[in-house]
Amino acid sequence: MVPEQAIVKAVNEINIDVKAGENFAFVGESGSGKTTLGYMLARIFEPTSGNLWLDGKEITYARGRELRELRQKVQMVFQDPGSSLNPRQTIESILSLPFKIYTSLTKAEMKKSIARLLESVNLPVELMPRYPGALSGGEKQRISLARALALNPKLLVMDEPTSALDVSVQAKILHLLVDLKRQFGLTYIFITHDMSVVKNISDRIAVTYLGRIIELGMTRDVFERPLHPYTKALLSAIPVVKDEEKRILPKEIILQGEIPSPENVPEICPFFSRCQERQKICEESSCPDFEEVEKGHLVRCYQYKTQIN
């Protein structure tokens, strides 16, 4: 699968170190490969090539007992709350699965643990015998979160956890995520296209386009000084609500053309076809390498190349 290869190549070329306790975000639109990346981090897919490390240990091809331990440490929450919960199982049954697989608690002990989980996501214990169909979108997403937290993971990978929710509910879930992070000392990898959420939640972001990371840096730096033309276009496209926000945005950029399909990604810069700042060198050379323009802020764009071959 081409997107996988491209993403993993990016990981090969630079180490994305997600530090403990950090909230790291992968930002991009469709075809960016960010969801595939999430699946690989949660070991739902295996990478085609490249390596993944967790806590200093290589986990790319972990099997058996190692894989079991890995699964306890890394959990994933998906976007669509509706399809993340089996409509034919009660909440209690859904939440007991991780315990059943990894622990040998008695039924009573499991029930207590489940009750505690529900409490930690601000849901009433009375929900245990009910079916997902009776729950609202926000409640379902909290259940998915609770399930992910059951085994005390260290890393949560979240793929658009709030995109399908109403705005008033989204805010509550985001606050809950921040609380849980603090309470349990978690590390988050957020995958989203919503820049406003990212600005408020994440410490560092990686902007992805067609399977490659094209800009990487602390959130504040990327928002205040966006380097890559795509990042600038992405920021300018944010539908802001308040006037003050408008002044923070870069000047308006309206991209022409469609997002190319991730199937035949050319070897040149992936953004070339829609870039409004493109130069001749962009078409003639392969995808540029990372350039550290300021401390901790990297970009892959020929505009910033310090050495010209």
């Binding site: 089996n86 199982q89 699965l97």
Partner: protein, 289 residues
């Protein structure tokens, strides 16, 4: 715990109200209920239980329907009404046996094919395709004749033909459920295949299986009575509906009651299963043919 019971009760009540809206399927369900009860209690309810199998009353041959015999008598003087009731036992039993066989073969095969994919999928589904190419009646007839025609073999034959439908449905549903997020998550949590099949996939199959079972019960009875009609199933003096229609044929149109009433029984039963199945299909919102 009280909450749980309350929730369940509410669910059932709403379900009943929803189903009751479809008057036809309720009519079908009621008819079937009555038929089942009559079948179970046939020896006590029927007026001439001794007429059910082997009894000959030449004096009472081919009497038209009247006070003594509400559905008349057949060519051996036996009360048609009694035989129709006993025939219900046979046909309903046939439906149960056939469906049990086909479900126990078809569902596991379908789920395995859908879940494991690859070679297993190919082998199972090609087998299914082959059996699907031949109409149920023809194939069952052939098997029944080959096994030496009697009622039991007829039931076996139909059962062995019938599993293909269940296999297909189980296959299709398994394929679609397999890709749902909640299955992916269970896998990523490290759930065993067994758990996923029984706890995640199977519960999602129940609605379409229920609908199909109800619809198929009717068709199975139809096939069974047809095979007996053709002489490859139940043997005389068994009070099997198809057989009764066949024997009564010779006396049409004068002694119309000997064929008509068993025929009506077949019609009403199959129709009721269909109506019930239709109603269930609307209720569950599944697409089953």
């Amino acid at each position: 715990m009280k909450e749980e019971k309350q929730v369940r009760k509410e669910g059932v009540v709403r379900g009943i109200i929803k189903i009751s809206r479809n008057k036809l399927s309720v009519a079908g369900a009621i008819f079937l209920l009555v038929a089942i009860l009559l079948a179970i209690f046939a020896p006590w309810v029927s007026p001439y239980p001794e007429d059910a199998y082997d009894s000959v009353n030449f004096g009472e041959q081919l009497q038209p329907p009247g006070l003594k015999h509400i559905m008349g008598t057949d060519e051996a003087g036996r009360d048609v009404f009694t035989r129709v009731l006993y025939g219900a036992r046979i046909s309903l039993l046939l439906a149960v046996v056939v469906l049990s066989i086909s479900i126990s073969i078809g569902i596991p095969l379908g789920i395995c094919a859908g879940y494991y994919g690859g070679r297993i999928d190919q082998v199972i589904m090609r087998m299914t395709d082959v059996t699907c190419a031949i109409p149920a009646l023809v194939l069952a007839l052939a098997i029944s004749v080959a096994l030496s025609p009697n009622l039991f073999n007829c039931m076996l034959a139909i059962g062995f033909v019938w599993w293909r439908g269940f296999c297909r449905i189980a296959y299709g549903e398994t394929l679609s459920v397999k890709q749902e997020n909640y299955v992916l998550i269970s896998k990523s949590l490290g759930a065993s295949n067994g758990h996923i099949i029984f706890r995640e996939i199977l519960p999602n199959l129940t609605s379409s299986l229920t609908v199909k079972t109800s619809l198929d019960a009717g068709y199975a009875i139809l096939v069974g009575t047809s095979i007996s009609f053709l002489g490859a199933g139940a043997n005389p003096p068994t009070p099997e509906w198809g057989l009764m229609v066949a024997s009564g044929r010779h006396y049409l149109p004068d002694a119309w009651w000997a064929s008509l009433f068993p025929g009506l029984a077949i019609f009403a039963t199959v129709l009721s299963f269909n109506l019930l199945g239709d109603g269930l299909r609307d209720y569950f919102g599944v697409e089953v043919e």
